[in-house]
Subunit: 140 residues, 3 copies
Amino acid sequence: MAWYQYSFRLPAFRRGFHLITHHIEEQIPGLYEIKIGLAHIFIQHTSASLTLNENADPTVRGDFERHFNVMVPENAPYYKHTYEGSDDMPAHIKASLLGSSITIPITNGHFNLGTWQGVYLCEFRNHASGRRITVTVQGE
Amino acid sequence: MAWYQYSFRLPAFRRGFHLITHHIEEQIPGLYEIKIGLAHIFIQHTSASLTLNENADPTVRGDFERHFNVMVPENAPYYKHTYEGSDDMPAHIKASLLGSSITIPITNGHFNLGTWQGVYLCEFRNHASGRRITVTVQGE
Amino acid sequence: MAWYQYSFRLPAFRRGFHLITHHIEEQIPGLYEIKIGLAHIFIQHTSASLTLNENADPTVRGDFERHFNVMVPENAPYYKHTYEGSDDMPAHIKASLLGSSITIPITNGHFNLGTWQGVYLCEFRNHASGRRITVTVQGE
């Protein structure tokens, strides 16, 4: 039974949805020592998320950005938390809709993802610096 | 400390929300050997989800299907990823809203669920084959 | 390697979003014995959720309540599961949107949360009693 924990900061990404599978993998060398296990990938912020989705066509990520901007609009008349800018409260709501962490099975030293699955960083703020991530890898 | 990992394919389900708690339990015999632990249930696709919800009244599952079709419509004018059919891009968005995995506590060899909780397969495509699942069971 | 599992009932909260980080921490003394690990916090209900979000300004929690009531309205014409009250079916949908559990990294005996992250209980029913929680702590 082995435990590894890695904390690091991603590069800054512009607002939108970004494929970061390889950014994560290259930070967690313990992954390759696990035959059966789990990787828990956690973002330490309340205005960005991690999710798994389609890893091939960039229009999918663009459609995510456009859809979430309709489903969670800026300047909704019922927002009271407005002093950090019009992108702030929607960012908090989107962060909980998509979540702060994902957990991926590990099999024979690799993320056991489906063919079309990749890790997305969902950046909801107009101007954010690099987001802090903590990955906990465990297994045997 | 024990680790078990099971990969299997569910039968094909029609578009909608389906109660699959027993489909999962019958595939993971290691569950019964764990006194305290966790089961991580993961779907290896980007157009279907797993979630926990009400396990009794089928109208709840129907209302889920109807509500998600309003909240994430087909043919939204801002979709650019359209060449795989009108159900494809909504399926990707719904998949991230509801998520690719659930984690359930294990207590004395059983899922420690609330009285009304069951595992749903959320099938978002009109025509899908059986979905691939990987369950990782760990505990002592 | 250590495993701890705690089941307890939160006090009853009114409908809305409530910061409960300390309610959780005070129930799980095993947390302080873990150097590297994970805490899985699970709610055994289908009309309430757990999520992580902003831990400072109460208007954020108010805006969550207002936004989710727009995004998942009561009395939608397509609901068929209506006999438990107008708040019931929206509660089920919100419960799956926000999820039944969160997993938090543990580092040196503490939740390794970002500066602004706190645990929210999301209470979706108008009249609920205290919600049952099971926390599974593991690590070394």
